[in-house]
């Protein structure tokens, strides 16, 4: 069997710098899935874009060949004219991208953007073309293809947009689909469904897939063969069975070790009866009022958070898990006093065991200032949370500056101490943020949060923008400082595997409500709620023998009104949160 796409000795560089992709070779056969695995900067994206010759203008292909099997023998894609290359793109080889939010033009209707593929490749014969597009929409799981055809991208959710992208990629019936991190920007449950969809389509049409990803779990679920890349070179290549079952190369093993997993072992930690909460939220709701499109239209209400009841125990971590729009970030903002909850709520904060609790809903100025010293935040995106024009020293000293603490020398000393805590060195004080990698920036952002000597940290998805191996290190750091400084965390995440590692208690949120809450052991090994089950089932495991069970995912991940009767939400009416085990609460009708 001859390869459909064969890349040999590919070397790509920018300007005069050493190549960023170095002597990379891989091939895909008809109907097969090849996974290109690596962390950011490994050159995996450049390599697959080189196959379609859509590289950034500054990149030069220095050596190598790309051959695509054609009807009349193999085609060397490097030698084709730009015009003939356009015939290949979208027709024989199509591509989907990482960010469905930005990969569709915001100003054109979905139908227009999809049917364009057929028009470009001369397959548009009037009514047939539209029918073909509608059939494709149906195929990718849109319930009302006609409506999607007329919709604009901003009217669809991320998952729907990625489905539209897939429709666009397969409508021309390509021989090869290149998927560049197609699910990285999506929620786990959506990711599972999109991956399942790609697999199904592949089964139907027999197209080959090149899947670019950093997630070994995704690889285990999708790939027939795997090529592992690091720093522009191929580290290891082989069948999925070989690579995932018995990785040979050290780098692959490291990747495996770093991949977050839901732990196997069960040890029941009983919750103390008399718990010492640093932050306790009772009856907390948040309703946003949206103006109508015109002054005379009625206002609409968005119930972002409804009736939250939980507390962060001193020296422990409470994790709040949910997909985008579940209300978890609103929770975090209220816990920091950055957002005021609806009247009737109480959010009590107790800086130490014997201190008087203050209610964040009713702070006076002195109390607020005091609270702000005690509660700090670590943000999601380490690239945008550090001012690019401020040196590390200024960024670190700023909180103390604002609170008027210490002399300049004392502030610098404190900054040095904190840098050591997070594993960076003193001589980095005078650098600017751009000199740091993503992981180092997240360390800086943690150091900044620690400057005021807080007792309580809110971590809003602190690792989701980082590579797996770096993610592991940052989690470890967070655990260490928590234990040594006796900090308490409210940890917001969409990733159950990350949470499994660090949390002492987990609350799963959906649609502004906590659907299940309890110690991680109870939640992971005895999940009661269909949504928690769906989240767990959707979590891709780097184990080829444990594929995602899409049935479980679709049962729980759908709209809350489609859940089994016992659990169903119906508009404003939701079942009560009921205790089913020690500290284990589930929202259902008993």
């Amino acid at each position: 069997m001859t390869a459909l796409l064969k890349v040999e000795g590919l070397t790509i560089g920018f300007g005069k710098a050493p190549p960023v992709v170095n002597d990379v070779s891989f091939s895909v056969e008809k109907g097969e899935t090849l996974a290109l695995v690596g962390e950011s900067g490994s050159g995996k994206t450049l390599s697959c874009r080189a196959a379609l010759r859509i590289l950034p203008a500054a990149a030069q292909i220095r050596a190598g060949s790309v051959t695509l099997a054609g009807e009349n023998g193999p085609l060397n894609l490097m030698d084709l004219s730009e015009r003939r290359m356009c015939d290949i793109r979208g027709n024989r080889v199509s591509m989907i991208f990482q960010e469905p939010m930005r990969s569709l033009s915001p100003l054109h209707r979905i139908g227009n953007q999809v049917i364009e593929v057929l028009r470009l490749h001369g397959e548009d014969n009037g009514r047939d073309a539209k029918k073909r597009v509608l059939d494709t929409f149906d195929r990718v799981g849109f319930k009302d293809p006609e409506r999607i055809y007329r919709s604009y991208p901003f009217e669809l959710s991320g998952g729907m947009r990625q489905r539209a992208m897939i429709a666009m990629a397969i409508v021309g019936k390509p021989d090869l689909l290149i998927a560049d991190e197609p699910t990285t920007a999506l929620d786990v449950t959506t990711q599972a469904q999109v991956l399942g969809l790609i697999k199904d389509i592949q089964k139907d049409t027999g197209m080959a897939v090149v899947l670019v990803t950093h997630d070994l779990g995704v690889v285990a679920n999708m790939a027939d063969r795997v090529t592992v890349m690091n720093r522009g070179r191929v580290m290891e290549a082989g069948t999925a069975q070989q690579i995932l079952g018995d990785p040979q190369h050290g780098y692959t093993r490291d990747l495996f070790a770093a991949a977050p997993k839901i732990p196997e072992a069960t040890e029941d930690k009983a919750l103390d009866a008399d718990r010492d909460f640093i932050l306790q939220m009772k009856n907390v709701s948040k309703t946003y009022t949206l103006k109508g499109s015109a002054p005379w239209h009625p206002k609409t209400h968005v119930y972002a958070v409804r009736g939250i009841e939980f507390g962060v125990e001193r020296g422990k971590t409470l994790a709040v898990v949910g997909e985008s729009g579940s209300g978890k970030t609103t929770c975090a903002r209220m816990a920091l006093g950055a957002e005021r909850a609806d009247p009737g709520a109480s959010i009590l904060f107790k800086p130490d065991t014997h201190a008087e609790a203050v209610d964040l809903q009713h702070l006076n100025n002195a109390e607020r200032l005091d609270f702000q010293r005690n509660a700090q935040m670590v943000f999601q995106d380490p690239y945008s949370t550090l001012n690019p024009r401020m040196r590390v020293k200024e960024a670190l000293c700023e909180p103390m500056d604002i609170h008027g603490i210490g002399t300049a020398a004392e502030r610098t000393d404190r900054a040095v101490e904190m840098l050591r805590w997070v594993g960076l060195s003193e001589n980095m004080l005078t650098r600017y943020p751009h000199a740091f990698s993503g992981g180092q920036r997240q360390r800086l952002s943690i150091a900044r949060a620690l400057m005021l000597g807080p007792t309580f940290l809110v971590c809003d998805e602190p690792t989701s923008a980082l590579d797996v191996s770096v993610q592991e290190q940052v989690l470890q750091l967070l655990e260490e400082i928590r234990d040594q400084m006796n900090l308490s965390y409210l940890f917001i995440s969409h990733d159950l595997a990350v949470v499994a590692r660090i949390a002492d208690e987990v609350a799963v949120m959906r649609g502004g409500l906590v659907v299940e809450q309890g110690p991680p052991e109870a939640l992971f090994y005895d999940p009661k709620h269909p949504y928690t089950r769906a989240l767990l089932a959707a979590q891709p495991e780097p184990d080829i023998n444990r594929p995602i069970d899409l049935n479980v995912v679709s049962q729980g991940a759908g709209d809350p009104s489609t859940w089994p009767e016992q659990f169903r939400f119906d508009g404003q009416h939701a079942p009560p949160l009921t205790e089913t085990g020690p500290g284990h609460m589930v929202r259902f009708y008993d």
Binding site: I54, G90, N91, P106, L107, H108, M168, K291
Partner: protein
Amino acid sequence: MAMIRFAIFRLITMLATLLVVSVLVFTIINLPPGDYLSNQINELRATGQQSGIAKAEFLRQEYALDRPLWEQYLIWMGFAPGPNGFAGMLQGEFGWSFEFDRPVSEIVGGALWLTVLVNLAAILFVYAVALPLGVLAAARAKTWVDYTSAFVGYLGLATPNFLLALILFYYGNRYLNLPIGGLMDPKFEGQPMSFEKMMSVLVHLIIPTFVIGTSGAAAMMQRLRANLLDELGKPYVETARAKGMSESRMLVKYPLRVAFNPFVADIGTLLPAMVSGSVLVSVVLGLQTIGPVLLTSLKSQDQFLSAFVLMFVALLTLIGTLVSDLLLALLDPRIRFGGRS
């Protein structure tokens, strides 16, 4: 349907804005102490010319300048009856120019249309030049095409308009036999519109259009280039390439369409900038537009004339904004459906 509702809504806000502007204009004009007539009366008293004083006093009463300011405003706008009943802006009575001793409408009449004509021509010129050059500069970014157009553009921005006007007049007249000054041949002035008169106006328009439009075109070209370059880096451009679109077709259909928004939004600000920016040019070139009139009337506190001109400029601005808002809503579904999601 939604579009019509939006248009009506915008029209209502525009009228409300115009009302606020009228208050502001009136206040600002009356901020300096005295008015044209009281200045004149003082001057006449000093030189002892009694007959003139009587006429000035009569005018003061006729135009209610002896009343409190708020009453003057209401009478000027036509909200309240003056000495001659309701005779304000709303009734189409624009008042009397003391400086020229003629009704405002008579002085301004012809100049209004010429102003609109000159500025529309300049705006068309701006768009006609900026669009292709901006797109070209972005598509061929960092090549000699880009650098040359940027260089010419900066020259256009940096050269004072009146200087450019003088230079162009000289060379235009010498080599191309273009007329100097004015907006038409003197023999057509006051004549009814005819083909010859139109041709004469068009020939006279060439240099003013170029002079008034150059800096605007240069600035807009740079803005379009920057916007387009931003858009070219967006993922949807890559999607379009991966579909197999040719570069030029892709450029026009996707990024240009998105980069068009600020381009269209500029209409609103361009119009007033042109009108006020062309005052000096109009003086230098001897164009019979409203610019020189505004200048004289402001200098001599000729309040009805200057108020009318300012209101006219404000109206142009608001119409410009209205047009650009409606165009934006037509162009961009996100704005059109803004309130829906």
